[in-house]
């Protein structure tokens, strides 16, 4: 359903006397490729600064990508054609017609190249829910006004019809009519997040980015929201990209997981496979570090030392090598590619095979 190819997002760091020249770049997302299948929940996990949030927003074009392609709902034969043509262009063996054909296809299908107008139609199909529900609601708008906005913009309805729709939405998540005229600060965190979710699904999108939707919430509220998200996924046949740093939520929510570290995907696998058989040391250390609410199983942990390095000057070679307990000299020299080690299980670590056996 969603195909991401070689996506990059570099944020310039301005320097020089007039703060105008880019002296360096934060490589928030660095050459990331993956796909999201229809109806699945792909979880994007990683520590802060790994680029998962940037990636989510770049896909929705809330942040402009530096380079790369994003294909949404593109027929597979067209994707194949684009791939073939791109390969030809790369090898400089494409004819003029083929180059033109590729440009045309890219303009039609590649979201990364859409203009404002082209994006507006896309907005109905792709939505986002943010981490902090309080700051993602306009404090000067009542809930009715906030929820009316998407309907006003995309569907030409009469005022009363909009109001009916809003009321219907509110009721579907257990909120009442009197809540319509209240302001965001009068609600609890869980209620606010439900309102944000409503705003996102009011246009009946097909794909949603959930950017840490529960990390600002308490566990009992988190459970309510997660259940709601699952229910909505079933009802509306939604596809989720679930961004989080909390691995326990991942196991509950997702069908597939991609682990990111400093702008790169280091491991990708179906959820159960990843949890039962984590291969990349980065994934392992993340899993080990999760505190488990079972005091009897208090384990000897693999606690990795040090902090996440700066994404401005990421370590050479494998970016995790500075913290990796298994790192060899080769790790600091060569960047390991993401390879499929078993069906659907991709790892970017040359030692993965050895670790698998140990």
């Amino acid at each position: 359903m969603l195909e991401i190819r070689n996506l990059r997002k570099y944020f310039p760091i301005k320097g020089g006397i007039f703060q105008r020249k880019a002296i360096n770049f934060v490589k928030a997302v660095d050459n990331v490729s993956f796909s999201v299948k229809k109806g699945e929940t792909l979880a994007l996990v990683g520590e802060s600064g790994c680029g998962k949030t940037t990636l989510g927003r770049t896909i929705l074009r809330l942040i402009e990508p530096t380079s790369g392609s994003i294909f949404f709902n593109t027929p597979s034969e067209i994707l194949r054609e684009i791939d073939a043509l791109t390969e030809k262009v790369r090898r400089n063996s494409a004819t003029k017609d083929e180059v033109e054909r590729l440009n045309k296809l890219n303009l039609t299908y590649n979201i990364a190249l859409r203009d404002e107008k082209g994006l507006k139609n896309l907005r109905k199909e792709m939505q986002i829910v943010f981490q902090d529900p309080l700051s993602s609601l306009d404090p000067r708008m009542t809930i009715r006004e906030t929820l009316s906005e998407p309907l006003k913009i995309h569907e030409h309805l009469r005022k009363e019809e909009i109001e009916d729709r809003v009321l219907e939405l509110l009721k579907s998540v257990g909120l009442k009519e009197e809540h319509m005229h209240r302001y965001p600060h009068e609600f609890s965190g869980g209620q606010r997040q439900r309102i944000c979710i409503l705003r996102a699904i009011s246009l009946k999108p097909k794909f949603m980015v959930l950017d840490e939707p529960t990390s600002a919430l308490d566990v009992s509220v988190q459970a309510q929201i997660l259940n709601l998200l699952k229910r909505l996924q079933r009802e509306f046949n939604l596809t989720y990209l679930f961004i989080t740093h909390d691995l326990s939520v991942v196991r509950f929510m997702s069908t597939r997981v991609a682990v990111m570290y400093l702008g790169k995907i280091v491991e990708m696998a179906p959820t159960e496979e990843l949890f039962n058989n984590p291969l990349h040391p980065c994934t392992r250390s993340l899993l080990e570090a999760v505190p488990i609410p079972e005091p009897t199983t208090r384990r000897k942990k693999l606690i990795i030392e040090g902090d996440v390095p700066s994404p401005v000057n990421p370590p050479s070679g494998c970016r995790f090598h500075t913290r990796c307990p298994y790192a060899t000299e080769a790790c600091s020299k060569e960047e390991p590619p993401l390879i499929e080690v078993s069906p659907e299980h991709l790892v970017a670590c040359p030692l993965a095979d050895k670790l698998k056996k140990s």
Partner: protein
């Protein structure tokens, strides 16, 4: 819609309003500010009914009379009643201030919001122009402009406005930059709202509070500046009842006829004080953080 229905729909707003009332009542300084400004505005509106004499009616037989029952605050060198002139002076100065602030406020704010929201070249150019204006002392620049245009109230309004807009442009730009980063703006973009819609629907309502505070504080400042221009002869012309002009005239007789300059002076002081107190109070009332902590 019935009243009951209306109150139900606006329950939240009414609650906030009641709370605001409570906060105002609790704070003596804010109260004082509101009362002073209230009285001044009323005096300005009702000037024809309050003033006992025509403010420009010269009675040369009654020159330089001290305060008495007949002339509450005495008369000036042209035999005009000072109390009446002060009442009309308040009206005139308030009008000048309101005109300047509403022009400057709207223009500066919109400019600031756009340059803050879009950034880039537009921002760069606007802010550099604003810097140039801000690098002159206000009064000097206003004086230069007023001098070129020629002395009159209208020209002094223009002169002040030209020097004043950068304050609002800067303020609005700064506020926009911080509001722009909030997630609800991003959410609006994700919904597919256009930039113009976002600016007017989401950004403006959220930056209006600091602008209002600044506008209130500036009411006093503009009155001071208008009075200053008149004082040096570049604003209102005699016999117009303008407070700065009245002080300027009265200054010549200060030693023997103190009331001619003193009463207009006190009036200006009180007006400016009133607006400053009110502005400071509004800042506390409108700042969401302070507002909650005042509980």
């Amino acid at each position: 819609m019935s009243l009951k229905n209306w109150t139900k729909r606006h329950e939240s707003q009414l609650k906030e309003l009641r709370y605001t009332g409570f906060l105002i009542r609790r704070n003596m300084l804010i109260m004082t500010g509101f009362i002073i400004v209230g009285i001044m505005v009323l005096m300005g509106i009702l000037a024809p009914y309050i003033a006992p004499y025509d403010p420009t009616d010269m009675q040369f037989s009654q020159r330089l009379l001290p305060p008495s029952a007949g002339h509450l605050l005495g008369t000036d060198d042209n035999g005009m009643d000072i109390f009446s002139r002060i009442v009309y002076g308040i009206r005139l100065d308030l009008l000048i201030a309101i005109t300047v602030i509403s022009m400057v406020g709207v223009f500066g704010t919109i400019l600031g919001v756009f340059s803050g929201y879009y950034g880039g070249k537009l921002d760069e150019i606007t802010m550099r122009i604003a810097d140039i204006f801000l690098s002159f002392p206000y009064l000097l620049l206003a004086m230069a402009i007023a001098a070129v245009l020629g002395p009159s109230i209208f020209h002094s309004i223009i002169a002040i406005s030209v020097t004043w807009w950068p304050i609002y442009a800067r303020l609005a730009r700064g506020a926009t930059l911080s509001v722009k980063e909030r997630e609800f703006v991003e959410a609006s973009r994700a919904i597919g709202e256009s930039n113009i819609y976002i600016i007017f629907k989401h950004i403006l309502p959220n930056i209006i509070a600091p602008v209002l505070v600044q506008a209130t504080l500036d009411m006093g400042n503009v009155i001071l500046e208008a009075a200053a221009l008149s004082f040096i002869g570049l604003g209102a012309q005699p016999p117009q009842p303008e407070l700065g002009l009245m002080i300027s005239v009265g200054r010549n007789f200060m030693r023997d006829y103190w009331w001619v300059a003193t009463f207009p002076g006190i009036t200006i002081l009180v007006i400016v004080l009133g607006f400053n107190l009110m502005g400071d109070g509004l800042r506390d009332l409108l700042d969401p953080k302070v507002r909650r902590s005042l509980l």
